[in-house]
């Protein structure tokens, strides 16, 4: 699924990370840990195909089979959850989008507020919607950067449940104990 050799990323003179070797086979769960500023987010952006590495070889699955959730839920705040998910479902060319959207909104507890603007939502509700967006097209590879941020206990439990059902996951977190049981590969930044 992901193969990286000698991966490095620089922004100008600043080196973010270097010499990262990775083998993430299909069906595995890569847990990325490390302190703030160690390069976790940048690595995840590279592994999601959103940033090019400065050096090294990287093999990734096709762009549209990747789901990425960063520090922001990546949804339009002036649109409703239904409008947001409809837009992305169209762009992903999902055949039965109404059914899929309804199922995700129900599961993440957003069905009742599906016609309300996202700008009125709490951070936790927006994060739930971000998870709906990222799961919409059933991605083969899911890249999640601190996905537990802002989620309440119920939301976090829901995410735990969802993570157990997914195929290949790369996840960065400050709370490794939450997902330690799922991890099959580990990468710790110093």
């Amino acid at each position: 699924m992901i193969q990286a050799r000698g991966l490095a990323k620089r922004y100008g003179d600043r080196r973010v990370f270097r010499d990262v070797d990775l083998d993430v086979p299909a069906g595995s769960f890569l847990l990325v840990t490390g302190p703030n500023g160690s390069g976790k987010t940048t690595l995840l952006r590279v592994l999601a195909g959103l940033a090019a590495p400065s050096a090294g070889d990287l093999t990734l699955p096709a762009r549209h089979t990747i789901g990425y959730l960063g520090h922001e839920p990546l949804v339009y705040r002036e649109l409703t959850p239904l409008e947001n998910l409809n837009l992305f479902a169209r762009l992903y060319r999902l055949p039965e989008r109404g059914e899929r959207i309804g199922m995700l909104l129900e599961r993440f507890g957003l069905w009742e507020v599906r016609h309300e603007r996202v700008s009125t939502f709490s951070r936790g509700m927006r994060q739930r919607l971000g998870l709906c967006r990222v799961l919409l097209h059933v991605p083969e590879l899911l890249v999640l950067d601190e996905p537990f941020n802002a989620l309440d206990a119920e939301g976090a439990a829901l995410l735990d449940e969802v993570l157990g059902e997914l195929r290949t996951v790369v996840l960065a977190t400050h709370e490794p104990e939450r997902v330690e049981r799922l991890a099959t590969e580990r990468l710790a930044f110093a």
Binding site: R45, A48, G49, L50, A51, A52, R63, H64, I66, G67, Y68, G70, H71, E72, L74, V75, Y76, R77, E78, L79, E83, L87, F88, R90, L91, Y92, R93, R117, R133
Partner: protein
């Protein structure tokens, strides 16, 4: 067919965002009316029609710039380019969808600006209306490309005018002179360039 559907969905999204937020269009309308009012009082009595027409084009270009600075606000502030470029839609569809929305805002601003110009200065001829319509296409295509480039830059508020205003000089020349063929050529060349280059602009935003 998928390309057309993607462009349609993205344009609809931008129009809906403006309908909800009501930030860009009211600012453009207020700006163009204020600019024309100032020009009305600033232009010396007896100045020719050509001078007034030059002021109309100046007002339209700066109104467009105002709209373009807001074009990618949602994508920039909420990091939405990341979500959009991971979808299977062609990256140029993102540019075209945005350019169509920008074009729609420009047309709305001009629906108010041209009668206001006629009221303050002189009647607007069919040639000027045609020139303005052609200019809208050029402004939207080039401006949207530069708007996306500015999102990636550090001094984005500074970068967009610095990129857009020099590129808009031929539009003003064509518009004031009423050279419709020149404006059509500009539209064709720059639309093609922007369509081809947008992929590289959003490669690493």
């Amino acid at each position: 067919m998928n390309y057309v559907r993607d462009v349609g969905a993205l344009t609809r999204k931008d129009l809906l965002l403006e309908l909800r937020a009501k930030e860009t269009l009211p600012s453009m309308l207020l700006f163009v009316i204020a600019a024309l009012t100032i020009f009305h009082f600033a232009l010396p009595a007896g100045a020719g029609d050509a001078a007034a027409l030059g002021l109309l084009w100046s007002a339209l270009i700066f109104t467009a710039l105002l709209g373009l600075t807001r074009a990618f606000v949602a994508e920039r502030e909420q990091g939405l380019f990341d979500a959009l470029i991971l979808t299977p839609c062609d990256r140029s569809a993102i540019w075209l969808g945005k350019a169509l929305a920008v074009c729609a805002f420009l047309v709305c601003a001009e629906v108010v600006a041209l009668p206001a110009f006629a009221l303050f200065f002189h009647a607007v001829g069919g040639r000027t209306v045609a020139a303005v319509a052609l200019a809208d296409i050029g402004i939207a295509t080039v401006g949207t490309l530069f708007g996306a480039m500015a999102v990636a830059g550090k001094a984005r508020e500074l970068l967009l005018p610095l990129l857009f205003l020099p590129a808009a000089v031929p539009i003003v020349v064509g518009g004031v002179g009423g050279y419709l063929w020149f404006l059509a050529l500009y539209d064709g060349v720059f639309a093609l360039l922007a369509w081809a280059l947008f992929e590289y602009v959003v490669a690493e935003i």
